[in-house]
Amino acid sequence: MDQTVVTKRSFSWNWKLTVAAVAVVVALAGLWYYLSLPSLTDTVAFPYIAHQKPVVDPHLPSSNAMADKLDDVLFDGLFNLTATPSGVVFTDGLGEFAGIDNNIVTVRLKSGRFWHDSYAATADGKKVTIDKKTSHEFTAKDLAFTLKRIQDLGSLSPDYILLAQALPVFEFEGPNERNEVRFKFRSDRTWIESDIKEVLSFKILPDNASMSAVSYNIGTTPYMSVPDYENTIRFRRTPDGDAKISAVQLVPFVDNSTFTTELRNGSINVLLEPPFGSISPLLTEPGKFFVKSNVSSTFFAVLFNTARLNRQQRTEFRKLLDNRAIINRFFKVGTGQQRHTLDFKGNYDRYGDYVNDAVFPTSSYYVQENIVQRYRDSTESNLSILPDTLRIRACVNYGYREEYTDLIDILNDPSITRGRVRAAAVQNDDIKRGDYDALLLAVSGYRSNFLFDLYNLFLREPDLELYRIHLLTSTDSKGEQQIDPASFQADRNFFRLDPTLNADERNDIQALLEDIYGFMSTRHVGDKQAYAQRVADREHDMALGAWLFSLPSIAYFSSQFDSSSIDMYGVASQLSTLKQWKEMPKK
């Protein structure tokens, strides 16, 4: 009897023990899971598309937005453009403004600023050790090398345009015993300190660098590049660096579809370009994240293949693509899933502000300042002129997969494109072959300031794997540089523009090319404006594309960071103040 009792009793105890054991196991599993999450303490972690490693060149624009942002992580200028709560300012970088006298600008070069190759970084798994080795100090030779490189790049480099406004020759005198160099500025303006610093804010490379390297990673900032770890691109604070946070890393992901989740999950703690540029419903937990916005730097456009569509067809095609309807669908305006936006002025859901009606985005200086008008044609597209099917292609493997996918659906929607469009995702090779009537393309990293890049749009070779500008110039009888018409070759641009193959539009194609070159190569504001008008007008007449809309630019941050330490303003790089970022104190 007692045994039975004992048995019952045992069963009862066994059940209880089992439940307790399971509970313990579950608790331990939860603890293990929690503890096994990546630790981002004292680290800034951004996501990137794994097969799109950023190629960093501080003097050339890049199709990869992250690549341009990294310029500020690695490189200093004599002066650095930095965002502040009140706007942008130029802070001392490798130089210190000493004064201007009779257009002679004196800059004292900072001493004790060392190139990153002054340190040896060794990695042991995740662990990185940085030791000092032979000091490689910044000198005037590096400055001279950089000026030479910018001059050689010419109109390909925005820095060339900035510098050309000030320097008749890209040279300087010095340094003297006080390590001062003297620039002879042009005498056609009153140079104020902020303008001087702006002109001299180009990033500086070491003179032992190659003039034409694919990528540059030796700079002078507090963050130096260290070996990758499992495709994580890593930067560490240098032993002498004064950054608040010791590590910066780019964490690889297949595409941007999981970026939001990864941020929420803590795999990353900063998301500079969330999908759709919109506020994510996943990141709305109060106290966990905060958001900051700035000016758009990516737009979507449908670029027409001039080899397949004549001008009349392109004109009607453009009419067919109602960008206002598309953007509303894109942001699901008026639906329960509406994607909300925040612009850099603090306005929410101003979708109309992102609609582009010209080759120059609405956010750009040229449209904002009414240099270029917004072309709006609300007439119905004459479908009879169009082919039965307009094949729009897109390659979703180089970023913006989420946005491309949605847009392809939208373009295939007969209610949007009246059943005449067949949009599809294709491989890069299809793009390279020009196998499309039109190409849906995300143009990222554009600048809304004077230095909007038309080469990126018109002369980029149609290979999304690479970023290559097909610019051919020659010297005329007066010794002046001029654009070579051969810069437009059908297989060297998205539009398949080629004056030799398109007799009907040869003159316009050539004129467009000259205007593009005029715009890109001039150092005069007036010429910039005039050529901008010409390019916009001519492009509109030629109907080379439908310019759809720009993506809002916001950035999400983990509340790990002190929001007040992170400034973003206007066109300043999102990472211009990275070294000032700091974490919230532990509670």
């Binding site: 303006r189 702006e198 240099i371 007036g526 066109v571």
Partner: protein, 789 residues
């Protein structure tokens, strides 16, 4: 002790230094006149040693003119000299010459009592030699006579002339047979030698002692006898020489009366000393001379007959010599000769009178050609006196009284000349009397500077051409006087009177020689005319420029200034000596000048200070100054860039150039309305034309707005209109006009201003402001910077 030793050494050294050794004869030498005496060193001769040097002292003679004779065989063997001064051979050495240099053993040295001692110095002894020596003191005359007497006596006897020919000359003597020339030649040769000897004898007398004449010295007696013989022979030779000479001279003149007469004085002199010669000789020569004088009359007769001249008749040979020789010969002058000589004398007297009268007449007459300028009243009176004297000098005609048929023509010539000179003097006297009266009147006019009156007198007396000629400058003076009157008018600024004077002078023919003075007169007219023009121009200029200077800073009613008569000529010229065209040209020059002053310089001289004042203190009458500048500008036709620039600066309608980037340019803005209102209108324009290599230049235009205009811009737009190339500029699109405020130091920026390259781009700004004043803006353009931000 040491001093003594030293003195001894010195003496020894000094004695050792003596070069010449004195030879001291014993017995010593005596200077009295004696024969030769041997010189001994006691008993012996002195011995001269080779290379030794010696001297011997000789005491001075007792009197002057002595010889010291030294006789020695060693004369030629040693070198010696005799001197009155000797200092151990030290210079100066003055040797006394040896008077017997050719003598082998005798030396003759002159000496006298004036030197204390004489020295015979032997300075060269080639070999040791004993000195055998004798001496003698002897007076020089004695020594001479002793040595020369025989020679002199021989000379005299050899040169005495044979007196026989002379003594035999007389009646019956054939003078023609005497070879006068040879006799004279011989005589003079002999006479020369004796005369030389006589000269030596006479010289010797100079060295005789004073008391010699009373002495009975034999040698002296011989001397005297020789002298007397010599004188006698010389006296004869002189007489004989004179006779022979006259004979020779007479013979030399045979065939030439003139040559004969040339010797007349010599011959007369010989005859005058006839007592020195033998009478037969004198008689012979006297008759010979009379005979020769008969040649005179025919010679003179021929000369008078040939003479036909009113110059002095000079008979040759000289009649005075002829008459003199007649007198020396004691012969009477023949009548015919006497008549001829009287005629010649009378003729020459007449000729002298005529010549004197003629000379005075000529002197007076020369006044006709002298053209003495402006003679005083005494001038012709003096000439008349000269003529009176000339008249007195006219001789009476005595020649006709002398019967000289052969001189009839000459006499007639003199008579005619006498009549002629008389008449000429009378005629000239009459002319000079007339001239005297005329000159008196002229001088009277001259005291009153009445040159025109003088000219009139001269014109009335043109027949007195010589008087007229004395006033060659009368036309010039008259012209000068006329010119002076005109110039006085000119100096007094009597333009019309000056011009009338010029016209009268131009047509004036009342000159003595109008054609001659014409060019000078015309020059003066032209010069005065030029001066008149210059003066009128100067007066016009001064008046106009004074007016311009006075009104440079005038602010009100500027147009009235330009209508002022100060810009007209002080006198409008009506006369030109050249042509009407020239007159018009001058008027045009005057007008051109005035126009230049009126429309260029005056506005320039006004605009400059007005602008200076305007910019210095715009708040002090700045508007008035600016408006005045613009008022002047309406008349200004000049091209001075600075002036144009000043005008442009004040002219609201003129766009102010902006041609350089970044440089601020001041803009003076005046109210547009002419009179102050409650709200005054202002306007300014800017022309942006800055060279640029941009194809489509764009600029920021910064305009500094005066605070008083800008300070209300916060509540109301400070400008009422702003255009670029007549298109309104508004703050729309990318165009922005920044309001001027204290924050931006009241600077309005218009940006971006798109301009047309290389063309005018006029920005016009109009605004209203309650104040009526000069406002200062400034503007600058520069290209906007391409920025990252």
């Amino acid at each position: 002790m040491r001093m003594r030793l030293f003195a001894g050494f010195v003496l020894l050294a000094l004695s050792g230094c003596a070069t010449f050794k004195e030879l001291e004869p014993v017995p010593p030498l005596l200077p009295s006149e004696r024969g030769f005496i041997e010189i001994k060193n006691v008993q012996d001769d002195f011995l001269l040693q080779k290379d030794g040097k010696y001297f011997m002292k000789f005491p001075r003679p007792e009197d002057l003119h002595y010889y010291i004779l030294l006789e020695t065989r060693t004369k030629k063997q040693v070198g010696s000299y005799f001197t009155a001064t000797f200092n151990d051979g030290q210079p100066p050495i003055v040797p006394i010459p040896d008077q017997g240099p050719g003598l082998d053993s005798l030396s003759i040295f002159p000496a006298d009592s004036t030197h204390p001692t004489y020295f015979w110095v032997i300075d060269r002894v080639p070999a040791d030699v004993p000195l055998t020596l004798r001496y003698r003191y002897v007076p020089q005359w004695r020594y001479t006579v002793e040595t020369k007497y025989d020679e002199y006596r021989r000379t005299l006897s050899e040169n005495m002339v044979d007196r026989t020919p002379y003594q035999s000359m007389g009646p019956g003597y054939d003078f023609s047979s005497l070879n006068v020339d040879a006799a004279l030649l011989d005589l003079r040769a002999r006479n020369g030698r004796i005369a030389a000897m006589n000269e030596a004898l006479l010289n010797l007398a100079d060295v005789f002692p004073p008391n010699i004449a009373t002495s009975k010295d034999t040698m002296y007696a011989r001397y005297r006898a020789l002298s007397a013989d010599t004188k006698d022979e010389l006296a004869f030779q002189a007489v004989y020489d004179a006779v022979l000479t006259v004979l020779q001279h007479e013979r030399q003149t045979e065939g030439s009366f003139s040559a004969f007469v040339d010797r007349a004085e010599e011959f007369g002199k010989f005859l005058g000393s006839k007592d020195q010669y033998r009478k037969p000789i004198v008689d012979y020569l006297n008759s010979l001379f009379v005979k020769r004088l008969e040649e005179a009359a025919p010679i003179y007769d021929g000369q008078i007959a040939k003479w036909y001249s009113l110059s002095t008749l000079k008979l040759v040979p000289n009649p005075v010599a002829v008459l003199g020789l007649y007198r020396s010969c004691g012969a009477d002058v023949p009548d015919n000769l006497s008549n001829e000589l009287t005629y010649a004398e009378e003729f020459n007297t007449s000729v002298a009178g005529l010549q004197s009268a003629d000379k005075k007449y000529a002197a007076a007459r020369s006044a006709l050609d002298a053209k003495k300028p402006w003679p005083d009243n005494s001038y012709y009176r003096g000439l008349l006196a000269t003529l009176a004297e000339a008249h007195k000098d006219i001789p009476t005609n005595e020649l006709e009284k002398i019967q000289t048929p052969q001189a009839y023509g000459l006499t007639d010539l003199v008579s005619r000349e006498l009549r002629s000179i008389t008449k000429r003097i009378a005629d000239l006297t009459a002319q000079y009397a007339q001239a005297r009266d005329l000159v008196d009147k002229i001088n009277e006019h001259r005291t009153m500077d009445d040159y025109r009156g003088i000219v009139q007198l001269l014109r009335d007396n043109r027949d007195l051409s010589f008087v007229v000629a004395e006033y060659p400058d009368i036309d010039e003076l008259m012209l000068k006087s006329e010119v002076a009157q005109i110039r006085a008018s000119l100096d007094a600024g009597q333009w019309r009177e000056t011009e009338n004077g010029l016209a009268n002078l131009q047509s004036d023919r009342d000159f003595l020689n109008p054609s001659q003075i014409a060019s000078k007169k015309n020059e003066n007219v032209k010069s005065l005319e030029g001066d008149l023009f210059d003066r009128v121009k100067k007066a016009t200029t001064e008046r106009a420029e004074a007016f311009a200077a006075k009104n440079a800073m005038t602010l009100g009613n500027i147009p009235a200034l330009y209508a002022d008569s100060a810009f007209l000529p002080v006198y409008v010229l009506t006369f030109s000596s050249e042509s009407q065209a020239r007159l018009l040209q001058k008027r045009r020059m005057m007008d051109d000048y005035l126009n230049q002053l009126k429309y260029v310089r005056f506005p320039e001289s006004a605009i400059r200070p007005l602008y200076r004042e305007l910019t210095r203190a715009p708040e002090e009458h700045g508007v008035e100054e600016g408006k005045a500048i613009l008022a002047h500008a309406r008349f200004y036709t000049g091209t001075d860039k600075t002036i144009r620039s000043m005008i442009d600066e004040c002219n609201p309608a003129t766009a102010k150039q902006l041609v350089k980037p970044k440089d601020y340019r001041r803009i003076i803005v005046l109210p547009v309305n002419d009179a102050p209102k409650s709200s005054n209108e202002y306007m300014f324009r800017i022309n942006v034309r800055i060279p640029s290599d941009a194809r489509f230049p764009v600029y920021d235009i910064d305009i500094k707005v005066p605070k008083e205009v800008a300070e209300k811009s916060a509540t109301a737009q400070w400008f009422s209109g702003m255009t670029l190339n007549k298109k309104a500029i508004k703050t729309e699109g990318h165009m922005r006009i920044t309001a001027p405020s204290a924050d931006n130091e009241y600077e309005a920026q218009i940006t971006p201003v798109q301009v047309e390259k290389d063309k005018d781009n006029i920005i016009e700004v109009t605004f209203k402001y309650s104040g009526y004043k000069v406002l200062e803006f400034s503007a600058m353009a520069q290209e906007p910077l391409i920025r990252k931000n």
